[in-house]
């Protein structure tokens, strides 16, 4: 009976976890969903506590309390900017837990009174400990790099790949040994040590900016370790959660390297020798942040106030109709959209007016520079569509600039600026634009019409 209760709580918890992750598809429902997942965790833990095997609750209670005391500040007080390192640290905790469980199982089997251990279980234990200890040290290294306790530059030396390969083969050899002969404790602990070393060596040649990919990948390893634990203990919730983590970590690391315009293997191995710290198409050295249509769409979908700044690029791309569609989609979701028309946007007086009128944008959405400039600080997203000179802050600040003195649209004062352009080419005045390098600016590269088509569907599906 008790066993059935335990199993039932596990089934419930699994379902809640899956539903929780699924809720992340919709930002609106995500929070609720994750709260249910947390509830699922509670259910599973409570279920476990009624387990037959547990006879002594003292260590358990103290462990839970201590863990909570450590976890709470990690969750509540860490600034969101420090998130990646926090995840890395917490990852190493999780992996440590899995590793220790594995070690204790192994230890019990030979010292705690148990006799032998069947092959399949030994294999699972071996995998668990191998992946676990690799993740423990790897995650710690990632943490160090992200927190800048360690130099964030890639550390490389000749023959690095070779050394790693040899170590990896060594660990696998020991794994095979211990599976064949479970009593070979030296092999078990040796494998653990080599894996820990490998964790360190694998991460040091990767630059700080690529760390998030590494963290995601380690997350996947940690999940696989948990799944292995599940196989070893015959515990299906561990298998399910491990599989979920493994799949998600893997997908995430691929998605992230894609977002950085890097191939996955390039992140993991290419950085040997020091790749660029950030993926950037840079002008005159200053870095530029590019953004994907998905992310830009999400930003727009959840923005309250959006100002669209059309420029000559919108005309060249003949994107006026798509601009209106995008505005309609944002408004449908409750956002407010205004158009800021600069007096000399485009190449003829009234250029933007003709095009937007053609696209049926009502006149009362169009705002003069003077009318709208005061609103940028309260604006969530300024969407710059193929405009350049008319939003160049140099006109305000740089007396040496040929456009100094021209009044401009204060797009740079908005909370986020998204710029749609094909590349980093200059506008009519032929000068660089510091707005594109600003911290609040993200560039969505590509033909304005094509980018807008993507944005429309992203906003629609957000």
């Amino acid at each position: 009976m008790r066993d059935h209760i335990v199993q039932l709580t596990y089934v419930i918890a699994s379902v809640l976890f899956i539903l929780g992750l699924r809720s992340l598809t919709h930002p609106d429902k995500a929070r609720r969903g994750m709260q249910f997942a947390a509830l699922g965790m509670l259910v599973a833990v409570c279920g476990t506590l009624v387990n037959h095997d547990i006879v002594d609750y003292r260590w358990i209670i103290s462990g839970l309390i201590l863990g909570t005391l450590i976890g709470y500040p990690l969750g509540m007080w860490v600034p969101t900017t420090a998130l990646p390192q926090r995840i890395a640290m917490s990852l190493s905790f999780g992996a440590l837990a899995a590793t220790l469980v594995g070690v204790s199982e192994y230890y019990n089997a030979f010292h705690g009174g148990g006799g032998d251990i069947e092959t399949a279980k030994m294999m699972a234990l071996g995998f668990e400990v191998l992946l676990g200890s690799l993740t423990v040290t790897g995650a710690l290294m990632a943490f160090g790099k992200l927190q800048e306790l360690l130099p964030s530059q890639p550390i490389t030396y000749r023959g690095q790949n070779l050394v790693n390969a040899v170590l990896f083969l060594g660990a696998v050899g020991l794994l095979v040994t211990v599976v064949v002969n479970p009593a070979a404790a030296y092999a078990f602990y040796g494998m653990m040590g080599i894996a820990a070393l490998l964790g360190v060596l694998m991460v040091i040649p990767i630059g700080g900016a690529d760390m998030p990919v590494v963290v995601a990948l380690l997350n996947s390893y940690c999940g696989l370790a948990a799944a292995a634990t599940g196989f070893a203990l015959g515990n299906s919730i561990l298998i399910i959660c491990g599989a979920l983590d493994g799949a998600s970590g893997f997908l995430l690391s691929i998605a992230m390297s894609k977002a950085m315009n890097r191939s996955f293997s390039n992140v993991l191995f290419g950085a040997f020798g020091g790749g660029p710290a950030t993926a950037a198409i840079a002008t005159s050295g200053a870095p530029v942040r590019s953004i994907s249509a998905e992310d830009a769409g999400m930003l727009l979908a959840y923005a309250q106030r959006v100002i669209i700044i059309p420029g000559y690029g919108m005309a060249v791309a003949q994107a006026q109709h798509t601009v209106r569609e995008l505005a309609e989609q944002i408004e449908k979701r409750g956002g407010e959209v205004k158009y800021a028309i600069h007096p000399v946007a485009g190449r003829m007086p009234g250029h933007m007016n003709v095009l937007l009128a053609e696209a049926n944008v009502p006149y009362d959405r169009l705002y003069d520079m003077d009318e709208i400039n005061g609103e940028f600080p309260q604006t969530d997203v300024a969407l710059v569509i193929g405009a350049n000179d008319v939003v160049n802050p140099a006109a305000r600040s740089d007396p040496a600039s040929p456009i100094y003195g021209m009044p401009i649209l204060d797009a740079d004062k908005a909370k986020h600026v998204i710029v749609l352009k094909r590349g980093m080419a200059a506008g009519f005045a032929g000068i660089e634009n510091a707005l594109f390098n600003a911290a609040s600016t993200s560039m969505l590269f590509g033909d304005a019409k094509a980018s807008l088509v993507k944005l429309v569907s992203e906003v629609k599906n957000a």
Partner: protein, 100 residues
């Protein structure tokens, strides 16, 4: 009969892939911290190790594992929640504002 467990693993991985491919990139960071928190499920194994009658070594290892896993779970879910809070829009309020 580890074969049944293999089924479970395959099916769960399927579910994981299908669910996660649909998560928009903006939520990738919360997703990472959420899966990280969920990986704290190894607490379930740790509890048995810490509370079982397998001798001192196992108990100590189990205790450390419980601490780590708990910290992982508590911190993970809390921070995920904090992040997701930022995506909750006060839609009624905005509507009220725009109607003024």
């Amino acid at each position: 009969m580890m074969i049944l467990e293999l089924y479970i693993f395959v099916l769960a991985a399927f579910v994981g892939f299908m669910v996660i491919t649909k998560v928009p990139p903006l939520l990738h960071t919360p997703l990472m911290s959420a899966t990280n928190a969920i990986s704290g499920i190894s607490l379930v194994g740790s509890l048995v190790a810490a509370g079982g009658k397998h001798g001192q070594v196992a108990t100590i290892l189990g205790f450390v594992a419980v601490v780590c896993a708990t910290a992982n779970i508590v911190g993970g879910f809390l921070i995920t929640d904090r992040m997701l809070k930022m995506f909750k829009r006060d839609v009624p309020a905005s509507h009220a504002a725009s109607k003024q």
